[in-house]
């Protein structure tokens, strides 16, 4: 499974959404980053929020980068679950641009909220108008700035829209605490907040289990 090809290549472009995430995170908390890529987010959170915790990453090319960045990284396959971690051992479990690339996203959401108090995910919104146009007018699978691969070689095997994600959360008894949508450059505007599922290219969510 190649989930970090995507995170890795767009790492510089991702920085603004890391900013948004770090604003959501209480200083001094414990964070588990699933699919942590080269460790940019955790290193950033370490610097700006004094968090502690671990990154999980499958791509061997990223392990040394994480170590060099001072991040505690565990090389592992997220589809194998988070059985190495105890219940409620983290304040936040974060997963940026990875949910759509795992085999069992629903199960992983459960796992996130088993080991963490809150979950944070970001994913490319398949409901964005450009994606819809691709299918509606051209009859082709969308290829866009946030989804640059063709259908046959994309690591993104479980794409969803904002509504899809929220429907899954409702079904699973997950309460959404915060939602932001941004464009490819991670800017937001008023129109986007009115029509997030149509105008948002990337979705960011913070959520917890309904007690």
């Amino acid at each position: 499974m190649v989930i970090s090809a995507d995170t890795g290549s767009s790492q510089t472009a991702l920085r603004p959404d890391l900013d948004i995430i770090s604003q959501w995170i209480t200083p001094g908390s414990r964070v588990l980053d699933l699919g942590c890529g080269d460790g940019t987010l955790l290193a950033h959170l370490w610097d700006t929020r004094q968090v502690s915790g671990y990154g999980l990453e499958i791509d061997s090319g990223n392990i040394a980068k994480c170590i060099r960045a001072g991040v505690n990284v565990i090389q592992t396959d997220l589809d194998a679950g988070l059985s190495d971690f105890d219940e409620a051992s983290f304040d936040y479990v974060v997963m940026t641009q990875t949910l759509q690339a795992v085999y069992y996203p629903a199960r992983l959401l459960d796992e996130m909220l088993r080991v963490g108090r809150e979950g944070i995910v970001t994913f490319p919104n398949f409901g964005h108008w450009r994606c819809r146009m691709h299918v509606a007018l051209r009859g082709r699978m969308p290829v866009s700035r946030t989804l640059p691969e063709e259908w046959y070689n994309t690591p993104n095997i479980h794409l969803c829209t904002l509504r899809d994600f929220e429907a899954l959360c409702a079904k699973k008894g997950i309460r959404i605490l915060q939602r932001t949508v941004v464009d490819y450059a991670h800017h937001s505007n008023f129109a986007m907040s009115l029509l997030p599922n149509l105008l948002g290219e990337i979705a960011l969510y913070r959520f917890q289990r309904i007690k």
Partner: protein, 385 residues
């Protein structure tokens, strides 16, 4: 190999001379016996800094010794066993670190062991040398550290049985080790691991030349037994994939001879490895080392709970495993990682894709070197080196 060109390579530690240190302070052992006095032979590479904060300890595996890097003479055909990692510009960079490598007690390369003369009898210890444990080794290494003026190692590093010593260091002397590199190791042997060791021991002990361990007095060595033990061990160090790639079913003479002489290349290779080993290793030491492996189980002191055993460690860990290693498979390293995660310890884990089997930890595999290098840079940076 042309000696001088190799010696002058910029990334070699060059010519090294082992040192022998005599201890007259009795060393209590786990078995209940005491070594009244003993020698430890060791080598060092690089310079100890004024603050004595840049020392790293290399722990060797089953058949290893203190000669980890460089050459003893310009005529040496091969450098020390971990030369791929130790030297200027290599992961254990001698421009920053003072690297110490010691031959363990019970060894046969200069530290006190079965081949040493027992002062009480005037004869070699032979089978009477006490069975030493990983804990005993760590205790003796701590005394070496005292002698060198090293209060705290910047890192303790080892692969396989060496990795077990690292784990023991982190548990027994948490304040004396800042970083721990545990490579291709396991928190204890499995029944299968012990079974392989037992077959190796039986091979040695059933050799008519073994003489219950007193073969020195008969001026023989249990050549066939030790050779068999090494052949068996060697199979477990390699992977099926590697053996297939290296030998396949290739025949030495290109045809079957319907006999029991060497026919397949792999047979020839194993016999060569076995014979070469007999020339450089002592059978009693081999028996001792396999016992130290079998006995290693730090969790047993903590109700068989590895997390509890590691509760007090303060070192920052790097754990490395290799995908093609079936002797100490990645799942075994994951047990260590999991126990460290339980205690919220600083740990990173790398699973290196490699088909070289257990021996991969000795190979300069690029991803592996990259990970070691990255971690050692952190060791240097955190120590202000």
């Amino acid at each position: 190999m042309t000696e001088l060109t190799e010696l002058l390579l910029a990334d070699s530690v060059g010519l090294v001379t082992p040192q022998i240190l005599r201890f007259d302070d009795p060393l209590p052992l786990d078995c209940g016996r005491t070594l009244a006095s003993y020698d430890l032979i060791y080598e060092t590479y690089g310079e100890l800094n004024a603050a004595r904060s840049n020392a790293v300890l290399i722990c060797h595996a089953l058949s290893g010794d203190h000669h980890a890097a460089g050459y003893h003479s310009a005529k040496d055909r091969k450098p020390g066993w971990w030369d791929s990692c130790i030297g200027p510009g290599k992961p254990f960079d001698t421009r920053h670190f003072f690297v110490v490598s010691v031959n363990n007690l019970g060894g046969c390369k200069g530290s006190t062991g079965p081949t040493t003369i027992n002062p009480a009898t005037g004869q070699p210890y032979g089978p009477d040398f006490p069975i030493v444990t990983v804990k005993d080794w760590v205790r003796s290494q701590a005394r070496l550290a005292d002698h060198l003026g090293v209060k705290q190692w910047a890192a303790v590093i080892g692969g396989s049985l060496g990795g077990m010593q690292v784990l023991q260091w982190s548990i027994d002397y948490p304040a004396r080790i800042r970083h721990a590199l545990v490579i291709a190791a396991a928190p204890k042997l499995s029944a299968q691991n012990i079974a392989f060791n037992e077959v190796a021991r039986q091979a040695i002990m059933s050799d008519p030349d073994f003489h219950a361990g007193h073969y020195y007095a008969h001026d023989v060595i249990p050549r066939r037994g030790l050779m068999l033990a090494r052949m068996l061990g060697h199979i477990t160090y390699l992977s099926d994939d590697l053996m297939r790639a290296k030998f396949g079913r290739e025949l030495r003479e290109g045809k079957l001879n319907f006999g029991f002489d060497v026919e397949f290349q792999v047979e020839s290779y194993l016999r060569y490895q076995g014979r070469a080993f007999v020339e450089r290793f002592d059978a009693n030491t081999y028996l001792l080392m396999t016992k130290a492996l079998d006995y290693f189980d730090p969790a047993s002191d903590y109700g068989h709970d590895l997390s509890a055993a590691l509760q007090g460690v303060t070192a920052s860990f790097l754990v490395v495993a290799f995908t093609g290693d079936w002797r100490f498979a990645p799942a075994r390293s994951r047990e260590i990682v999991r126990a460290l995660l339980d205690g919220d310890k600083d740990v990173s884990y790398a699973e290196i894709e490699a088909n070289e089997g257990h021996d991969a930890f000795l190979m300069p595999i690029p991803r592996y070197m990259e990970v070691l290098d990255a971690f050692m840079r952190r060791v240097a940076a955190e120590g202000g080196l």
